[in-house]
């Protein structure tokens, strides 16, 4: 089954044209669930990751991402920082900083491609899982802050 339009162009919770409307009997694969749980914190990050994966090898600036995905620049900034911290996206500074899809391993690359496929074919389970992860993240915020405190090298320039 091939999609003629990229996931990013759909921009939101629009239903599929197909009869199953996102409810398939297949559960999301484990590596996709792990990827969503551990490295992707927002819908913007998901859309940006998928957009960059589609054009792998070509860099996009924050402005291009913002325009192409109809996301405000502030949200784009936050999302690419999330993806950079997750190790999925690399920033290279030319005249303007450009972002490249740069998975650290072949397994993660497979997982991202599986995620892109899953989001194209059955977006609702992906979105549902992301909502559940977001709630879980809120509930474990203090715990995560505790664990993160023990990371010796802090790249975010805080304090």
């Amino acid at each position: 089954m091939s999609r003629t339009h990229p996931p990013a162009a759909r921009g939101g919770l629009q239903p599929h044209n197909e009869s199953d409307a996102g409810y398939t009997s297949e559960p999301l694969p484990d590596e996709v669930r792990a990827l969503l749980r551990e490295r992707i914190e927002s819908y913007e990050a998901l859309e940006i990751l998928i957009a960059l994966e589609r054009v792998r090898g070509i860099g996009k600036t924050a402005g291009e991402l913002s325009a192409g995905l109809h996301v405000t620049p502030a949200l784009v900034d936050r999302a690419v920082r999330n993806l950079e911290a997750a190790g999925l996206v690399e920033r290279r500074s030319a005249v303007q900083p450009q972002y490249f899809y740069a998975p650290p391993s072949a397994e993660l690359d497979c997982a991202v491609r599986a995620l892109a496929r899953a989001y194209a074919e059955q977006p609702i389970p992906v979105i549902k899982l992301m909502s559940e992860n977001a709630i879980q993240r809120m509930r474990t915020g203090a715990a995560r802050a505790f664990a993160d405190a023990f990371i010796l090298r802090r790249g975010k320039g805080d304090g």
């Binding site: 997750a86 650290p104 509930r139 474990t140 715990a143 995560r144 664990a147 023990f150 990371i151």
Partner: protein, 95 residues
């Protein structure tokens, strides 16, 4: 009184260990498992004080000669914490 206070410390440690155990179950972050074990060990350390140190004297020489092994439990607890920190940083680097 001293036994009572060691008991309070042991109980507080157990409670903390339970909280960290819960955090580990929820977040799946190994760091919490390590901290849970460390605080459980600290509870044992304080329990050991209550059981092994003679009530009428907690002076250094009595303490150390009557129950020298207690400090090994304390050592274990803090080594586990160091392992937790090292493990966490290695996890982060590997990402």
């Amino acid at each position: 009184m001293r036994d009572f206070l060691w008991g309070v410390l042991a109980m507080a440690s157990v409670v903390v260990a339970i909280f960290f155990f819960h955090y580990w179950r929820v977040s799946r972050d190994r760091l919490f498992a390590y901290f849970s074990v460390a605080f459980a060990a600290m509870a044992l350390d304080w329990l050991g004080h209550a059981l092994l140190v003679p009530l009428d004297s907690v002076r250094a020489e009595v303490y150390l000669t009557s129950s020298p092994e207690i400090y090994l439990v304390c050592l274990f607890a803090f080594v586990v914490i160091l392992v937790a920190i090292i493990d966490k940083n290695r996890q982060v680097r590997r990402r």
